[in-house]
Amino acid sequence: MGKRIGMEVAVAVAEAVGLCNIDMAAVYPITPQSHIAEHLSDLVANGQIDAEFVTVESEHSAMSAVIGASGAGARSYTATSSQGLMYMHELLPIASAMRLPITMAIANRAVSGPLNILNDHTDIMPQRDSGWISVFVENGQEAIDMSIMAFKIAEHKDVMLPVNVNIDGFQLTHMVEPFEMPSQEEVDAFLPPFVPHATLHPAKPVTMGAFAMSDYFTEIMKAKDEALLNSKKVILDVWDEWAKMFGRSYKPVETYKADDADVLMLTMGSMGETAQMAIDQLRGRGVKAGLVKLRLWRPFPHSEIKAVLKNVKKLIVTDRAISFGGPGGPVFSEIKSALYAEASRPLIYNYIFGLGGRDVAVGEFVGMVDKVLADTKNKAADTYEFWGVRE
């Protein structure tokens, strides 16, 4: 039976990964990810996990090395953040095209410039189309659970895709939280050994990463898209299995007091819990507000999003990133596109905030709901606004 402990979330993520019998990890230091790397190397140094820890000279080499190790058939792990993730960017679509089940923690942090080490989602958003499974977590418990489940999802024979787990930098990584850490026996029972499809071994030579021109390229892209779409079934199965074993259930889209809501707020990542407090406050005032939390970013849960938004009049989408000169925040444009063909759809308001570590407090969410409800002429719908910006 797992035990209830209090621990810094980044350290706990490393502990959880340590329970997964990884063979190899390659990690380069970057704030606020570094505690994951440091604690993993402690576990290796103390013989608590039997793995090769490769202290690469860059994130680009971290991803390159885990691609090599995964290609050789080793269960391989890395973690990064912000500039490190941007530096890896080139390799992310290659890892997914090669169908290598790498798992990676991302301690989400603002992308430079100006240089900033604090939390937002500007690092993961440019990686959206890399062909990775991408999940966002809300608290430390989820960070642990998702980190372990990531291996099982990635390595499933019907998936064979890399997975990234997005953990808000500082807001989550550096918080000491209470949670239940599964035991080694429980993880062993949950997570089967990695059985790779083909490996770089002389017993059966294979060529990986071949050169393909226009005669095959489109087919390969379609195959990758199908693989990612098909992974959803396995993701749901694995999450269900986790719920049965550990009693904690996860869904691609979660709701809070949403059923009778006149206005819904949508969040991704750690701000969900803060938004939940705002909903309680608003409900206390008699405002029928509710919350939608998006957990699965890729593959995008279209049917679930449509189902939870089908009756609501007004929807607030919050974004911790922006597509400059584009439609607004990346979550906003995704939600709009998901709802476009629906017969009835809500008015959608987009607020961009919490950038570069700016505090996201209960009052911010309350203010957004008040503003949207006051917009009786629907003037602010379908546009985006930087919330709380000094002008």
């Binding site: 793995a51 490769v54 690469v56 885990v66 090599g68 071994h201 002389p202 071949a210």
Partner: protein
């Protein structure tokens, strides 16, 4: 009897008959690089895993859905062959230790061109060598970005005309000296560094075999004549390689644990570099004065190397 001169006589007995890079690849006719890769594979044998950088050798050997590779082979990107190889080495080590793969010894080899080694992949290579992985990295140096169309790299020699450092009315072509990559690798204090040229196949194979036998990182710098990029007829690949060695432009040597040794193939007296320049279109524009400046540099560099071979030799020599 000179072994190289009588190669046809010796080759069947001295060289592994197994072709691990099969025919049917798309390399240009007369490509010395593909000859070098073939020789490397013969020396390495089948218990090898290769991580290749983007470049000519990747393009010509792996056109999907075909492959020329009989050994496990992976290509990821341009600048990271050394990091990929280091990851493979770490992965195989862990799996062998845990008994998940058989116990055979597998050599992991990273390979790339001069751009992938000396320019864009320099950091990844330095990191992999410094970390002490049990791997070989082989640079197939054809002295420019040949795959993209003969653009200059830091491996392009002084005076060579390339598409981005062309000879013109006010330019002699490449204006910088070639980066001394083998010495940079020696400075990493890795166990073994060697230069090879496919025009000397037995020396080539011996050095690869030695690198294979050494536990830890080795670096091999391979002179890879490119008829297309060097503006020379395709039948000259081997003879130009010979001239590069005979003139001291590309000396054959090895450095084992810091001890230098010139290859026995090195002539006692070097030929003038104009003999090497003459069959190559890329040097055609050079004036006698310019050639003289380059000749001086080659002479000095070779003398420095010979001094090292004299004073930094192994105890038993």
């Amino acid at each position: 009897m000179n072994i190289v001169e009588n190669f046809d006589l010796f080759a069947p007995r001295l060289i592994n008959k197994q072709e691990l890079l099969s025919s049917g690849h798309r390399a240009c006719s007369g490509c010395a690089e593909v000859l070098a890769v073939r020789l490397m594979c013969k020396a390495l044998g089948e218990n090898t895993v290769i991580a290749s950088a983007t470049g000519c050798m990747e393009i010509v050997s792996s056109m999907f859905p075909t492959t020329a590779w009989q050994v496990p082979w992976i290509h990821v990107a341009f600048e990271n062959a050394a990091s990929v190889a280091s990851g493979i080495e770490a992965g195989l080590k862990a799996l062998r230790k845990k008994g998940r793969i058989d116990d055979r010894y597998i050599k992991v080899v990273g390979m790339g061109g001069d751009g992938a080694t000396m320019d864009i992949g320099f950091q990844a290579l330095s990191g992999a060598m410094e970390r002490g992985h049990d791997m070989i990295f082989v640079c197939f140096d054809n002295e420019a970005y040949m795959n993209t169309g003969i653009q200059r790299s830091s491996g392009t020699p002084m005076g060579a005309s390339t598409t981005t450092a062309p000879a013109g009315k006010v330019s002699m072509g490449q204006k910088t000296w070639k980066k001394n990559m083998p010495e940079i690798m020696v400075a990493h204090e890795i166990p073994y560094v060697a230069t090879v040229c496919p025009s000397y196949p037995l020396d080539f194979i011996r050095k690869i075999e030695k690198a294979k036998s050494i536990k830890g990182p080795s670096y091999i710098h391979c002179f890879s004549m490119c008829p297309t990029g060097w503006r020379s007829p395709s039948h000259t690949a081997v003879s130009i390689g010979r001239l590069a060695v005979e003139t001291g432009v590309f000396p054959l040597f090895e450095v084992e644990h810091g001890h230098y040794r010139l290859s026995p193939d090195m002539p006692k007296k070097l030929k003038p570099i104009k003999d090497y320049f003459k069959p190559q279109g890329r040097f055609r524009h050079l004036t006698p004065d310019e050639i003289e400046v380059i000749q001086e540099r080659v002479t000095v560099e070779f003398r420095k190397l010979a001094e090292k071979a004299k004073f930094l030799k192994t105890g038993n020599e």
